[in-house]
Amino acid sequence: MAEERALAGVSEVQKKIRSAFDVFDHEQNQTVDVREIGTIIRSLGRFPTEAELHDVIAEIEEEEPAGFIRFEKFLPTMSRILMENKLRPVPEDLLLQAFEVLDQQKKGHLDPEELSRYLTQEGDPFSQEEMEEMLSAALDPEKNLIFYRDFVSMMTADEPW
């Protein structure tokens, strides 16, 4: 019984991966553009850093990198990641704490300039475009401040599936 369940579990996982992959398989030929791999992995509820992402891609790329990734290479790697719970989500409360760390004076909000500086210069820096997009979602236009608690709720509200 447990074995059946386990097998069923495996096939569920595979179907999930298949579904996500298919959305990005524009030509319906079991390949996706390599630049979409990050999106696909993340949409499956994983939280890779850029470095981790590069590692995954290196593993599943063609011998002669051709700009696309084939499903048959993606599936086993991704299955393993899901089954072994790798690249796992960071708990939501840590996300809130991260903002609180940046908010040294504990004001409850952050300056857009401040936040931009951190996010575009440190860690896995955001591109200008990413930063602008985040600000458009996070910034309170009237006060020109980021009330990060609300923003965190928003980001964590949608359940990854």
Binding site: K16, V23, G38, P89, L95, E122, G123, D124, A137
Partner: protein
């Protein structure tokens, strides 16, 4: 983790002679960096999730749009069926002649007299533009301003303007040939679909047409949006003022039968109650006289739909384009013995006097590909006696065509159907040739107006649209080489960013109606070409709301709309879905697994969608991962109480074919009162029923009619009837909150009818894709 830790690691190891203070500060830096990394990881994950949803939301709209195109085929087939099968039974004949009277010009009245505007008086209180002809640029600009201020042009001026336009169009060639040396840059716009705001935005960003500013408008000016007539009037005005600089291409929506279904007819009749029908008649002519394509510097082809592997521009240049009035009615063949002296050679097609004209106009069955049995037998057939001929439902029909398409017979659908018949009226070989010529020409035009590019090589009939082809990169290559051209610019398909290249950047799709599916669904774009013929794009999105909405809000809204539309599809296929579910539930427990749910959905709806992903949006409660499907359906939508006793399959059919029904009703409602009689409704329904080979009893139909006629006055309000098909999500009503919104304050704009409001007759007819036109 990333480089942050390494940095932090380094810092941690440093010891300062001051000791503690500095290490605390350093540690804070590390923490900050780690925090940044964390935020970045989360945010990117969040964006990825949004992207996924955006993609499949888009897929929903596109799938359903294409599925909806099939309604056109339904209508076409139904009209064809009526023509072939009606007999002299008094009731039916009345109805059918009603239907076809619409599509014939009154033979007994001279054309010019019919469209004479001179007797129409303009009252003093009219504050709109008063046009004088010939038009000048100021008047055109004033017209734009007037429409921006929501004024309406008086029907006298409308008719006059249209008359002048027609005169001009008649002298234009099938293919406009223009050059960048005259006006340095040429601006090309795609589909506008009655969205005046977008046209105004284009003029604002790019300037109005002038001697220095040439424009090509690539078809589909009308339908769906609510200001189609205003757009037409503006375009025609500028055409008259700058005939050398403004060029219009015909789109597949410049077609009076399509307009019946997609809203333009209704718009005109609504805005011009007295002269609307005349205006529509004149437009029917004008549409058929619109040029088919434009070529820039002999190098760039601009056409609304696209090409096929048989497209021959030389041939296209030679056709009598005005003979091809509508893609839903194959071209008429002239009967030699019915020649009548006519004022204008243009009138010939309308003066077919033979009493068999209706029968002869249709050369082949539109419902299936086999040749017809002997024609003579038709006249004696009654409606009841058709069962062997109308053997297939629409779905079966398409399936067969799909299979046949695999044998790559080009241009199979609407155009080729006619070629398939071996049954023609007795004729000489001469007129047989002529007939084939006409068929070939018709296919050429259909291909130009209806085709879509596809990714693989080849050329297959476009079954989804029912006309034109899907053409591949090799066809583009051959075509461009053959005609010594370098680029094809076309429209016809909505693109998220307003434009999109394909076929190795040799084909460009340009689409100018922003927010086409829903507010925030897509941008519009236009393209400028200078003498170097390098495209330069400008994108935009009308509606101030979208600029203020964040990506997230815009996505939520679009998603909401897409899901709503999807649920309507589910509802339309309820019986089939039920049977499919029951197949997975042999023991009749009322429960199925989520996985089986997915398979059933996929199988029944034939919509290529990520069902697993949509699961969480469409299913809210499961017990042990099993779905109670009866309950699920109940919660999917509520129906009008009065319909509750009506049998499900009947209701399903009605729902599935509601747009065809509505179109027929509007044709039948000849005085445009918005009402049709009991009897007409019954007859129409009976005919559709017969055509679809449904076995629905007289009794059920009568019950239906009685329940629809809510005020019992023997008349049925068409609008009310169609409104009853608008679905309301019971869950939303009960919880007072959208399933798909987390917080109601996320919407900037006016509340959508389905959120936070008690049940009421919805009034918003313009929103959403499947709203009645």
């Amino acid at each position: 983790m990333g480089c942050g830790v390494t940095k932090g690691g380094e810092f941690h190891k440093r010891y300062d002679k001051d000791g503690n203070i500095i290490s605390v500060r350093i540690s804070a830096v590390t923490k900050a960096i780690r925090a940044a990394v964390l935020i970045q990881r989360w945010y990117r994950q969040y964006v990825a999730r949004m992207e996924l949803r955006r993609r499949y939301t888009w897929n929903i709209f596109q799938s359903i749009e294409y599925a909806g195109q099939q309604d056109q085929i339904k209508l076409y087939n139904f009209l064809g069926y009526l023509v072939d099968n009606f007999t002299p039974s008094s009731n039916e004949r009345n109805l059918i002649s009603h239907i076809f009277r619409e599509n014939e010009v009154c033979r007994d009245i001279e054309w010019e007299r019919f469209f004479d505007y001179r007797h129409i008086e303009v009252p003093d209180i009219y504050s709109g533009p008063r046009l004088t002809f010939p038009l000048n640029a100021d008047q055109a600009a004033d017209l734009v301003e007037a429409f921006r201020s929501k004024q309406q042009l008086h029907s006298r001026y409308v008719l006059q303007l249209l008359g002048e336009t027609w005169k001009l169009l008649r002298v234009l060639p099938n293919i406009n040939r223009i050059s960048t040396c005259h006006s340095k840059e040429i601006t090309i716009c795609g589909d506008l679909h009655g969205q005046l705001e977008d046209l105004l935005l284009i003029f604002y960003k790019n300037g109005m047409p002038s001697m220095e500013k040439a424009y090509v408008f690539n078809g589909d000016f009308v339908d769906r949006g609510k200001d189609s007539i205003e757009i037409l009037l503006i375009l025609f005005a500028f055409l008259l003022v700058y005939p050398g600089e403004v060029h219009l291409n015909r789109g597949n929506h410049e077609d009076h039968i399509i307009n019946l279904r997609y809203g333009f007819t209704k718009e005109v009749l609504g805005k011009y109650k007295m002269h609307g029908k005349r205006i529509l008649k004149l437009l029917q002519k004008i549409f058929s006289w619109l040029p088919l394509a434009t070529v820039i510097d002999q190098k760039v082809l601009i056409v609304h739909g696209g090409i096929s592997d048989t497209t021959d521009l030389a041939l296209v240049a030679r056709v009598d384009r005005h003979k091809y009035v509508s893609s839903l009615r194959p071209p008429k063949r002239r009967i030699s013995h019915s020649v009548r002296a006519s004022v204008d050679s243009d009138m010939d097609e309308d003066l077919v006097g033979s009493k068999y004209s209706i029968l002869n106009r249709r050369r082949a069955s539109l419902t299936y590909a086999r040749p017809f049995p002997a024609r003579e037998s038709f006249q004696h057939r009654s409606l009841q006696d058709f069962s062997s001929t109308v053997a297939r439902t629409m779905e079966e029909e398409l399936e067969i065509r799909r299979r046949q398409a695999a044998m790559t017979r080009p241009g199979y659908s609407m155009s080729c159907r006619n070629l398939n018949t071996s049954m023609l009226s007795p004729s000489s070989s001469d007129s047989l040739d002529a007939f084939e010529n006409v068929q070939n020409e018709w296919k050429q035009i259909l291909d130009l107006l209806w085709s879509d590019p596809m990714i693989p090589d080849g050329c297959v009939p476009n079954e989804v649209r029912g006309g034109g082809c899907y053409w591949g990169p090799n066809v583009t290559e051959e075509f461009l080489n053959k005609h010594s051209m370098q680029l094809i610019i076309r429209s016809h398909e909505c693109k998220q960013d307003g434009y999109e290249f394909c076929h190795n950047r040799k084909v460009l799709t340009i689409f100018s109606a922003s927010n086409y599916y829903e507010v925030g669904s897509n941008r519009g774009a236009f393209v400028r070409l200078g003498p170097d013929l390098v495209p330069y794009f400008i994108q935009y999105q009308a509606n101030s709301m979208t600029r203020e909405m964040s990506v997230r809000q815009s996505l939520r809204r679009t998603e909401h709309s897409a899901l709503k539309v999807l649920r309507e599809q589910l509802f339309a296929h309820k019986s089939d879905l039920m049977s499919a579910f029951q197949q997975h539930d042999k023991e009749n427990t009322g429960l199925i697994s989520l996985s089986d749910w997915g398979s059933a959905m996929s199988q029944v709806l034939h919509l290529d969608l990520p069902w697993r992903m949509l699961r969480s949006q469409l299913i809210t409660t499961t017990t042990d991962d099993m779905l109670d499907y009866h309950n699920w359906f109940r919660n999917l939508a509520i129906k009008e109480k009065s319909y509750e006793h009506i049998e499900q399959t009947l209701l399903d059919t009605l729902y599935k074919h509601r747009s065809t029904l509505e179109t027929i009703f509007r044709i039948v409602d000849t005085d445009n009162s918005g009402f049709i009689s009991f009897e007409d409704f019954r007859q129409t329904w009976k005919l559709l029923n017969a055509y679809l080979k449904m076995e629905i009893s007289e009794e059920s139909i009568n019950d239906l009619v009685v329940s629809i006629d809510t005020n019992k006055d023997g008349n049925i309000d068409i609008d009310e009837f169609m409104e009853s098909f608008r679905l309301v999500d019971k869950n939303m009503l009960e919880r007072g909150k959208s399933l798909f919104m987390r917080r109601s304050e996320e919407y900037d704009g006016p509340q959508d009818e389905t959120t936070n409001q008690p049940p009421q007759t919805p009034t918003n007819k313009e929103g959403g894709f499947l709203a009645p036109p």
